[in-house]
């Protein structure tokens, strides 16, 4: 079974991110809330998803730019913690994620006597992503080949197939999980791969866990 070859190979894609600035900067949490209601969804995406593509090391360990800014620049660790626990993968789409962010900040501010703002830190700059997909030319047909390729490809490939697949393309599960299930007929492995999430420890950790899951399956069979 571990040598089963897929009829449709898995084509690895890479990507390059170009950052666009929206010219919006905010100095306090009320302004953050107001701009969050208005900015394009690509901006929400930039600050909550492609952050993993840019940062191997997450400042303060927070998994999105909003949480990092609140905790480190505004020094409002409570809001930073509340924003940090939001998991984009649990949201059906980016609009729902926007709603969650807005309502969370609104609720937070409702319980404060004054609006926290940056004093010594930097303002928040709204940006948006332009992701250009790049074919890598690499394709695989078996689990062993997938494992080998995963160990070697640029981390941007992991990003495209795990984060971009769900965050922007709106797929129900990441590309690796879908292919392992549909083409290799390994539903248990596919389910485990579908649960992989960069929010806690970044993309390299997702790669490590993916490799371990592949190794375990290859050894068992």
């Amino acid at each position: 079974m571990n040598g089963r070859a897929a009829r449709t190979p898995f084509h690895f894609l890479g990507c390059w991110e170009l950052c666009e600035m929206l010219g919006r900067r905010v100095y306090d949490e009320r302004e953050l809330l107001e701009h969050l209601e208005e900015v394009p969804l690509d901006s929400i995406y930039f600050h909550t998803h492609s952050v993993f593509l840019r940062a191997r090391v997450l400042p303060g360990g927070y998994p999105n730019d909003f949480a990092t800014w609140a905790a480190i620049q505004v020094r409002d660790r409570v809001l930073g913690e509340k924003l940090g626990i939001i998991d984009p993968q649990e949201m059906p789409d980016l609009e729902a994620l926007r709603t969650e962010l807005v309502s969370l900040i609104d609720d937070h501010l409702a319980h404060l006597g004054s609006v926290p703002r940056v004093i010594f830190g930097e303002p928040f700059y709204f940006m948006q992503s332009r992701i250009l997909e790049i074919p890598t030319g690499r394709k695989v047909r078996t689990l062993a080949e997938l494992r080998e390729a995963l160990a070697e490809v640029d981390i941007a490939s992991v990003y495209v197939h795990v984060v971009e697949a769900r965050g922007r393309k709106g797929r129900r599960r990441n590309d690796f999980a879908a292919w392992i299930d549909e083409q290799l007929g390994l539903p248990d492995l596919a389910a485990a791969v579908a649960r992989l999430n960069p929010s806690t420890s970044g993309l390299e950790d997702v790669r490590r866990r993916l490799l371990r899951l592949c190794d375990d399956t290859l050894e068992d069979r």
Partner: protein
């Protein structure tokens, strides 16, 4: 001696894995397209240094790359005219005479009649060539690339420049803080260092020793280093104060590499103060090196135990990336691009005061393992974000995006 121009494959060993292949694939989207860069000078300044590295690499991946300069027929008054405008754009309080703006307008109008700027993408760099857009042909996408810190420009200077900038199709800045209210898309591209250039390439320890001996800097104790012009924004006097606080507990040397701009009276005064301090301390070395002393700066950065970039105002501050690439812990001011390069406590430390700089320097000198850890993380951070290969990719992505 002229540096040999590296090819893209030469960067395979230093760029993140897979980067060179990604660049080649990305370039397929814009292969055969013509990019024209227009800058003030081919020889002088940071823009020239960036383009010297970028243009041949873009050409290598199939982008027809031209580089026009406003001084290609020999020295022009343009750079001198633009200097006060650049300073005003970067927030200097120096008065900007209206005659300067008139001269600039006339200068670019005259140049526009003689320059060949036909390309699929035309990118003008900084203030001097900005006005060329008035004579733009119908075809081609025009991009204004601003390398200056325009976060707090003098209003008159920015108003003058803005009348041209709005005629472009897009603008590119080095930091989000530099973005402006403009009706055109604004992209972020950080500058980058060339790891194979004389300023950054590997040096044998013996070469480092020889260069330091030639510069008269003994290696008998830890070296603290700052490289940067002597102006108040680079705060060399603050670095000296920090060094004195450090020296109370840890014996060390301070090396300040820099000098004043010839047309900056404030810088001359500051230089005199720095030299005065150095004259009373044998462990404080002031080196006024020419811009061509790239190997010397490389060797000093490699010999240093800690590198300062204690600016209070900074454009991007690529000296930070240069030092981090050499695995050195960097203590930087909380300013400009320094905060982008230094992830606090991971790849270095940003500080807000003389005391902060001294405290972190003492901490690092007392803990070689911390120095090594921060230095190693810094090098990897630069590998990911601040090498010329990333800059090439951003340029290709920008072209692909703008050309559709």
């Amino acid at each position: 001696m002229t540096e040999a121009q590296p090819t893209l494959d030469d960067y395979r060993d230093v760029a993140p894995p897979g980067t060179i292949d990604s660049l080649r694939r990305l370039s397929e989207r814009v292969r055969g397209r013509r990019l024209v860069n227009v800058s003030a000078s081919r020889e002088v300044g940071g823009v020239a240094e960036i383009l010297r590295g970028l243009v041949p690499l873009l050409e290598e991946v199939g982008v027809e790359s031209a580089w026009e300069t406003l001084d290609q027929d020999g020295p022009t008054p343009g750079t001198a005219i633009a200097a006060p405008l650049h300073r005003a754009l970067q927030g200097s309080e120096e008065r900007l005479p209206v005659e300067v703006l008139d001269e600039l307008r006339d200068f670019t109008r005259e140049r526009a009649t003689t320059m060949d700027v036909d390309g699929d993408v035309v990118m003008t760099h900084d203030a001097l060539p900005t006005g060329l857009v008035e004579a733009r042909p119908q075809e081609g996408v025009w991009v204004w690339r601003c390398h200056l810190d325009v976060s707090r420009p003098q209003r008159r200077a920015w108003t003058f420049l803005r009348q041209y900038v709005v005629k472009y199709d897009a603008a590119v800045f080095s930091l989000p803080a530099f973005a402006q209210r403009l009706p055109i898309p604004q992209f972020l591209i950080h500058p980058a260092i060339d790891p194979l250039s004389d300023k950054n390439r590997e040096l044998a320890p013996a070469d480092v020793d020889a260069i330091l001996a030639r510069l008269g800097v003994p290696r008998d104790k830890p070296i603290l280093l700052q490289v940067g012009r002597f102006d108040r924004f680079k705060d060399p006097l603050g670095v000296i104060e920090a060094y004195r606080l450090v020296k109370r507990q840890c014996d060390c040397r301070l090396v300040l590499v820099g000098g004043a701009e010839s047309d900056d009276p404030e810088g001359a005064e500051l230089t005199a103060d720095v030299l005065d301090a150095a004259s009373r301390d044998r462990d404080l070395h002031v080196l006024d090196l020419p811009p061509t002393a790239r190997l010397e700066v490389n060797a000093l950065q490699r010999a240093a135990t800690i590198v300062f970039q204690k600016s209070t105002r900074e454009g991007f501050g690529l000296g930070v990336a240069e030092a981090m690439w050499k695995s050195k812990p960097v203590i930087g001011g909380f300013a400009g691009g320094i905060t982008t390069q230094i992830v606090y406590g991971v790849t270095g430390f940003t500080v807000n005061s003389v005391e902060g700089a001294a405290f972190r320097a003492r901490q690092l000198l007392a803990d070689p393992a911390l120095c090594a850890r921060v230095g190693a993380a810094g090098r990897e951070h630069v590998r990911e974000h601040f090498l010329i290969t990333r800059h090439v990719g951003d340029m290709l992505a920008l072209m692909a995006t703008l050309l559709g």
